[in-house]
């Protein structure tokens, strides 16, 4: 079947994001279903500190144990919420884990080493922003209202314990149900990201890469539009290394790993539009601060 170049590119770009994301989603769903069915509630609450700030700080480092990028972390965070984690706690985990995981740290180091403070900016900035957003959400009078009603209802019910064959049957059922929620979100997000790639020339943005403020703003927009996996986004950012200031690159690596078009589609399965707007605004603001600080120091 012959399709026009632009439609062919749109399909290729969309499918590439889908094929790249879905395996991570499947892995995230597997871990999530495993936690829901085989990890006792008490274990999670026993391991985590009691004080909210410390609890969120520890949760934001849990990404170290799960080398899964942002797509896989959404089902994982949903599973953790079904096990009793609060909205601010899961949001903190969700935003920090795609940055504070070993694969991301290693690939960022491989791409940039210690140059321009990009690696440090990404790790420290990601940790601080995720915890800041968690703290802000914790100040909400009723954080459960930040969840879509259907998921909030599921969190209330939780996952009652089952044993033996029934547990496996339920796990299979949960797996398909969770994939059924995630897949349309991935496809819709990927289609939007693919359309932006197909129709908007990137090089138009690269023209302002040398400006200390504009480079930061442009990279915020680029990170939001181009849904690149956080596991390897450093290599992609490297291609802008010669045209963009380090602060701009750090912004791309911090903000893009937390929020992008594909992630928003995924997160919409769980959080309300208002909550996502708040999280996106704070993440963008925080990432911009990281970028501006790096540009002013470098």
């Amino acid at each position: 079947m012959n399709v026009s170049p632009i439609l062919g590119d749109l399909l290729t770009l969309t499918l590439s994001v889908v094929y790249e994301s879905v395996p991570f989603v499947v892995l995230g769903v597997l871990v999530s279903v495993g936690i829901q069915n085989w990890v006792p509630d008490s274990l999670i609450h026993r391991i985590l500190p009691k004080r909210p700030v410390q609890r969120r700080a520890v949760l934001s480092l849990v990404g170290m144990l799960f080398p899964v990028c942002e797509c896989g972390n959404v089902p994982l965070a949903r599973g953790l919420m079904l096990k009793g984690l609060t909205v601010p706690e899961s949001a903190t985990f969700l935003l920090a884990a795609p940055i504070l995981n070993p694969i991301v740290i290693v690939t960022t180091y491989q791409a940039f080493g210690w140059d321009g403070g990009i690696l440090i900016g990404r790790i420290v900035g990601g940790f601080l922003i995720a915890n800041l957003i968690g703290w802000v959400l914790s100040k909400h009078a009723n954080p459960e209202t930040l969840l879509v009603p259907s998921f909030a209802a599921r969190c209330e019910v939780g996952t009652p314990p089952l044993i033996g064959r029934n547990r496996w049957r339920r796990a299979i059922s949960q797996f398909t149900a969770e994939c059924g929620i995630m897949l349309p979100a991935v496809i819709i997000g990927a289609t939007i990201a693919g359309a932006i790639q197909a129709f908007v020339p990137q090089q138009a943005l690269a023209a302002v890469g040398g400006h200390p403020v504009l480079s930061v703003l442009v990279m915020l927009v680029l990170a939001f539009c181009i849904a690149v996996c956080s596991n390897v986004d450093a290599f992609f950012a490297l291609s802008f290394g010669s045209t963009f200031l380090p602060g701009g690159l750090a912004v791309f690596l911090v903000f893009g790993a937390m929020i992008d078009i594909k992630m928003l589609a995924l997160l919409k399965t769980t959080f309300t539009a208002k909550a996502l707007l708040l999280m996106t605004g704070l993440a963008a603001l925080g990432a911009a601060c990281v970028g501006l600080v790096i540009n002013s120091v470098a």
Partner: protein
């Protein structure tokens, strides 16, 4: 033994069947593409094993779910459907918001159907060359490390994107003059100098969405008309042999170009992309 009543048997709604079908189509496509070696048209080969393993699990569990759905004991396991997605918003709103939500859902479903159909019907394809027009404007490559050290004589072993990066970023032009090179890629016209064409490859860090065009400039006056070689056009795949020389002039921004001794038209190779 009393016959199981029809009402006690869990029933999947069309939407749930559709979602399981979607899971099977997406994961099945990944497994098939990995099996035929075409998954790398979309994602970096480093993910092939991981992607096919996870997609394989998706297919197996999806099929188990279908089998269980038809199983006699499914209703008694506690998986009575309440675990399924209830992510539709509760219908408390009315008027415009309800209409908008319905329109959004319809667009979402259509998008999923079109993309799934694209997986099944449209043959796997690389990106077209149309995206290189901006990427190569101004000469050189759009990607690459800012510094590359290459031993004399090792230039010939570089692939297209490494050579493109080297030419673009080197500050020691004279040390590279006279180095023999062999490059393969598709033809892209230089936006500034019609005597120069770029032998171009897309370089992928993660998946096709981050593909960056990288080109090696070749000075071949009259290349469109086929003065010395076969006439070439944008998008033609070629292998070029030659040596690096200082760009003798013109308006191209590149300081080094390949002076070709042979330009051979070829079919698109099995691995059209290069990878970071």
């Amino acid at each position: 033994m009393p016959k199981r009543s029809r009402a006690s048997r869990p029933v999947w709604k069309p939407r749930e069947w559709g979602l399981v079908l979607l899971l099977l189509v997406v994961c099945g496509s990944i497994v098939t593409l990995a099996g035929t070696g075409q998954l790398q048209l979309y994602i970096h080969p480093r993910y092939t094993v991981f992607a096919s393993a996870m997609a394989g699990i998706g297919v197996v569990v999806g099929m188990l779910a279908v089998i269980l759905r038809f199983g006699r004991n499914a209703a008694s396991t506690g998986e009575d459907g309440h675990e399924h997605d209830h992510d539709h918003e509760h219908q408390t709103d009315s008027g415009a918001r309800t209409w908008l939500a319905a329109a959004g859902r319809t667009i979402g479903i259509l998008t999923c159907v079109v993309v799934a159909a694209g997986m099944l019907v449209v043959p796997p394809a690389t990106l077209s060359t149309r995206t290189t027009v901006d990427g190569l404007a101004g000469g050189g490559s759009a990607t690459g490390k800012s510094s590359m050290a290459v031993e004399p004589g090792a230039v010939a072993s570089l692939n297209t994107h490494e050579l493109g990066s080297l030419i673009r970023h080197t500050t020691d032009v004279r040390s590279l003059v006279g180095e023999p090179v062999v490059v393969t890629g598709f033809v892209t016209a230089d936006a500034n100098d019609n005597n120069i064409l770029f032998v171009t490859r897309f370089v992928i860090a993660c998946c096709a969405v981050d593909a960056q065009p990288v080109g090696v400039p070749v000075r071949a006056p009259g290349w469109q008309a086929g003065a010395q070689w076969e006439p070439l056009a944008d998008g033609d795949w070629v292998t070029v042999q030659g040596t690096l020389v200082a760009n003798p002039g013109g308006s191209s921004l590149t300081a080094l170009v390949v002076s070709p001794t042979a330009i051979e038209m070829i079919e698109e190779p099995q691995e059209p992309y290069e990878y970071e």
